[in-house]
């Protein structure tokens, strides 16, 4: 068999290998998503037939409540993302450059939420920081009686999402940091760099790829989050996840729910594009 024929045969085998999952994704993900998106743009006419309409989007972007919800979701996402990196980067740095029992204990604690179901995290947070929860009881014991629970404020979902997102963030950051050799840090010290300079000029640029992945994945996870804000309780304004649920199930307006979902999808897809570009660019850089 010629090399070309063999290569062609291997190519077909490769395609056959991925055909089932790709077909499943197309049928169960892309097709219903496309139907839903098209359904928000192509509407039935009164006299029969269909017409193109942006009416549901016009409503969303002129409705102050919808816009406030979108703004609250963006705020929650950005604040959570910043805090996730701010909390996890020092832990990842400590774990990368410190060896010993304490580092192992911290790693175990930080990764623990990965093994806790989201719904348990929600109830744990409510029981801990909610009204008459553990925290309030403990503060009462030490004479502090002015505790206001944050769990129904914008900070409630932020705290919960940080707890939920910590393990993934930490793992990706540790993975990025593990690619920085001890010698390159020592080389920076050798030419005169102090700790802060090493962090700013050596470590941070070297883990840009990991930071991009962390930001993109967390953005996707937080922006489209429904469980955590829903379980913590009703708020006003609310995040897009519970907003969609309520519009669909309680208000019974599937068109607006689909419109909200499409807008959420479009915003998330920006983070998705950044993630895919980051993944695609890295091997090319390595090949140079």
């Amino acid at each position: 068999m010629s090399a070309t024929a063999m290569s062609l045969r291997n190519g077909w085998r490769g395609l056959a290998f991925i055909a089932i999952p790709v077909t499943a994704i197309a049928i169960f993900l892309f097709y219903p998503a496309a139907l839903s998106i098209i359904g928000t743009l192509v509407r039935p006419k009164d006299g029969g037939g269909y017409t193109f309409s942006l009416q549901s989007y016009v409503f969303f972007f002129t409705d102050s409540y919808s816009l406030t919800n979108l703004g609250r979701t963006l705020w929650t996402t950005v604040v959570t993302l910043i805090l996730l990196v701010a909390v996890n980067l020092p832990i990842a740095l400590y774990m990368r450059f410190t060896k010993g029992t304490l580092a192992t204990v911290i790693q175990a604690l930080a990764l623990f939420p990965m093994f806790v179901p989201g719904i348990i995290i929600c109830y744990a947070l409510i029981r801990y920081m909610g009204p008459n929860g553990w925290l309030q009881s403990l503060l009462n014991l030490v004479g502090f009686h002015h505790y206001a629970s944050p769990h129904l404020t914008p900070w409630g979902p932020v705290i919960g999402l940080i707890w939920d997102g910590m393990p993934l963030t930490l793992l990706i950051l540790i993975s990025g940091l593990s690619n920085i050799s001890d010698a390159s840090i020592e080389a920076a010290r050798d030419v005169g760099a102090g700790r802060l300079r090493i962090l700013v000029s050596i470590i941070t640029p070297e883990i840009t790829h990991s930071l991009l992945i962390v930001s993109a994945l967390n953005f996707l996870g937080i922006f489209g989050q429904a469980l955590m804000p829903f379980m913590l309780g009703p708020t006003n304004p609310e995040m897009m996840g519970p907003f969609m649920l309520r519009t669909f199930a309680s208000v019974r307006d599937p068109l607006q729910a689909s419109t909200q979902a499409t807008i959420t999808f479009l915003i998330c897809s920006l983070a998705g594009v950044a993630y895919v570009r980051s993944l695609a660019r890295r091997p090319q850089e390595d090949r140079k």
């Binding site: 390159s184 920076a188 050798d190 030419v191 005169g192």
Partner: protein, 347 residues
């Protein structure tokens, strides 16, 4: 113009002693190789000089000033690492100029100095490239330029060519030696390659088990090893156990002059100091293997008492596998209690 002195420098890692208290003085402009097997403490000593390890005791004096507790960023030293340790997000110019930038130097001055340093290592046209776009040898040149541009008092090199192929290693070694001589920079070079140490060093410090075994010029180390370890570690050596009786010892079919007290001893002979003289079958040693290295032949010959002679001769000397030869030795050393106690050296 800098000297380096180590006074009673030691290092403990918990209960393990990585370096026994040692002393060493390196003169201005000298290139000294720390040579030893893995775990001998040579890299630990280099890292102590560079400030990456704090010594458990002793002083590290650079031009008379003790820097034993000074962090690396404040020492007048610069280190070339085995793994290049370049920063992949910076260009070659960025890597070389980073230290100058930290010193607050103006951009035009940085550009000029970086350009000069890159020209010195033959990479003048590679400034805008990233490390990933360079070969292993080019990366190591950048690492060397990054050190040289800072004009350190002491240059430290930690097995800098270990990851390169033999040809490139030989070439870079020569280039580094030329640059070092030209700049007159005091250099400490760690290697576990004896050829590398013998070819590049002004003096060699042979280390084993955290101790200095011997310090000397390459010629001294090669011809006058003071311990069996140095004799066996540097170059090929026939090391034969023998019993001394009445001022002589016999092994491998040869009677050696040994004017020392009776008892066990170790006789060391370099392969090139052995000559094979044709003899009758059954007399002397039988040649069991000849390996042709081009200019020289390496021969193994087994004596009647089972001792195996390693012999090195010029390729023109006629030797036949399976034939018998009488070994003759022109130079030998006798060791007892891990010290050289007698030498026969016609030179």
């Amino acid at each position: 113009m800098s000297t380096l002195e180590l006074e009673n420098v030691s290092k403990q890692f918990g209960a393990v002693s990585a370096l026994e208290p040692l002393a060493l003085r390196i003169a201005d402009g000298e290139l000294v190789c720390l040579l030893g097997p893995s775990g001998s403490g040579k890299s630990t000593l280099l890292r102590i000089i560079g400030g990456f390890e704090m010594p458990s005791g002793g002083k590290v004096l650079i031009d008379g000033a003790d820097v034993a507790r000074t962090p690396p960023e404040k020492r007048p030293t610069a280190m070339v690492f085995q793994s290049h340790a370049l920063w992949s997000h910076m260009t070659v110019e960025g890597n070389v100029g980073f230290g100058l930038k930290l010193r607050g130097m103006k951009k035009p001055d940085i550009t000029a100095k970086v350009g000069a340093a890159l020209n010195m290592v033959g990479l003048g046209d590679y400034g805008t490239r990233h490390p990933a776009q360079l070969s292993g040898g080019q990366r190591q040149r950048v690492a060397i330029a990054r050190c040289l541009v800072l004009e350190p008092k002491i240059l430290l090199m930690d097995e800098p060519f270990a990851s390169l192929d033999q040809h490139l290693r030989d070439r870079l070694r020569e280039e580094v030696r030329q640059i070092q001589k030209k700049l007159g920079i005091t250099t400490v070079f760690v290697t576990h390659g004896q050829d590398e140490a013998l070819s590049i060093a002004d003096r060699i410090v042979v280390m084993s088990m955290g101790r200095i075994e011997q310090v000397g010029t390459p010629a001294e180390i090669y011809t006058h090893p003071e311990t069996p370890f140095v004799a066996g570690f540097i170059g090929d050596m026939n090391m034969m156990k023998a019993t001394v009786q009445n001022g002589a010892a016999s092994t491998g079919g040869i009677r050696f002059e040994a004017p020392i007290a009776d008892g066990e001893a170790l006789i060391a002979v370099r392969p090139e100091d052995v000559t094979l003289i044709p003899s009758q079958d059954g007399e002397g040693a039988r040649v069991r293997r000849i390996v042709n290295y081009g200019a020289v032949l390496k021969i193994e010959a087994e004596a009647a008492d089972g001792a195996v002679w390693k012999v090195q001769t010029l390729k023109d000397v006629p030797v036949t596998e399976g034939a018998y030869y009488r070994p003759a030795v022109s130079r030998h050393i006798i060791f007892r209690d891990d010290r050289a106690v007698h030498r026969v050296d016609p030179s």
